[in-house]
Symmetry: C2
């Protein structure tokens, strides 16, 4: 590694595993670069980004280099190009068919609140087991009964399922989704899903997040300012 010359900008990178620590930072880079782009700024150096984002310039360069060098010595990075490339790394150049399972408060809020289409997520359907909701339209999408889920996932090539159901049902639904060929689960249920590692799970455990906040609040109180 290292002596494979990059002869035309974008670069071949062999299949070395990138750490999740790096991946977790990419969306934030993407967000800041998008803002710079919108402001009409064309170039940026790692030092400038460092100042704005409050991370070390070294880390920025190291992170980008995992994917093979997007910058130019003496110049910096072209904002638009870098933005596009990070988008591609994150898979945002591809379309992903998505459904929401659980049309309660949270499911409905996500349907309305997330701008799925903006980033290539195609919102294809919504499911619940509460008959009172069947047929109700949310974002132009009627709520379907859970009985139809399995066939729907197969027939519509659903890639991503958003799980916003109580934990009691979540594990079983996840297993079914795996059988039906789902590729990723965005899991809001308060439970850990047990799926093959070929299926990607991204957990959003809101209670956990809130507990971290209270820990930090109380730690600060107790220790005085550390």
């Amino acid at each position: 590694m290292g002596n494979l010359l990059s002869y035309q900008g974008a670069v071949e990178v062999e299949n070395k595993e990138i750490s999740q620590a790096v991946i977790s930072r990419l969306p934030r880079y993407f967000r800041y670069l998008g803002e710079l782009k919108d402001e009409g700024i064309e170039r940026v150096s790692s030092q400038e980004l460092s100042d704005i984002m409050k991370v070390t310039a070294s880390q920025i360069r190291q992170d980008f280099n995992n994917f093979g060098g997007f910058g130019q010595q003496g110049y910096g990075y072209k904002v638009e190009y870098l933005y596009e490339e990070i988008g591609k790394i994150l898979g945002l150049d591809k379309k992903h068919n998505l459904i929401i399972i659980g049309a309660g408060n949270l499911g409905q809020a996500l349907a309305n609140y997330m701008n799925f289409e903006r980033r290539g997520f195609l919102f294809k359907g919504m499911f619940d087991n509460n008959p009172a909701l069947f047929g109700k339209k949310i974002r132009d999408m009627e709520v379907r009964p859970m009985e139809e889920l399995s066939a729907f996932v197969r027939e519509n090539n659903i890639d991503i399922a958003v799980l916003t159901i109580p934990k009691s049902g979540a594990v079983a639904v996840a297993e079914q989704l795996v059988k039906d060929g789902i590729r990723g689960i965005w899991n809001f249920a308060h439970v850990d899903l047990n799926v093959p590692k070929s299926i990607q799970v991204e957990n959003v455990h809101l209670s956990d997040s809130l507990m971290k906040l209270t820990y930090n609040i109380n730690r600060y109180e107790q220790n005085g300012n550390i």
Copy 2:
């Protein structure tokens, strides 16, 4: 450190900083221990927990030890005791006054969906700048205009603000909250808040989370199974 004898179970631990990596795992321990407790299980060893939770037993012991030894050699950990202690560490034994700022889809969903009271969070109010929402009741709590926010936070000793407003307003609102004496912000806005480090911020950037998911989905596709 190390030769301060723990002579009665719970233990004095001096103010050494605990890494956020450890803190992030505590809510998950808490969840699993709660489940064990509900099943009536009284004792558990680090090895048993390891099997259930899929983390190494060594890490479990190391994590707990940061707070001073909750177990007993040859026996293991008392589930209920450990559960209580972790709850205390996380600050769940204390009451926290909480408000939601932004009564849109997400704000309303959180108000209804999170069982705030269950963990000592007292839901005290909800704010928005949309007049159409003023007075609307969500979880028995009427939506108040933003003009009243500042006084309300001061008068009601609000500890935690949940920010579910668009990013355009978020930074300014956060600054105001700091002036009014807030202690923690649970931030759902797609922007990084710039507050003194005495104020705790816990970010929930949902888009970032979804991007991580697509990265992992696409990585798996491209590399074949790693």
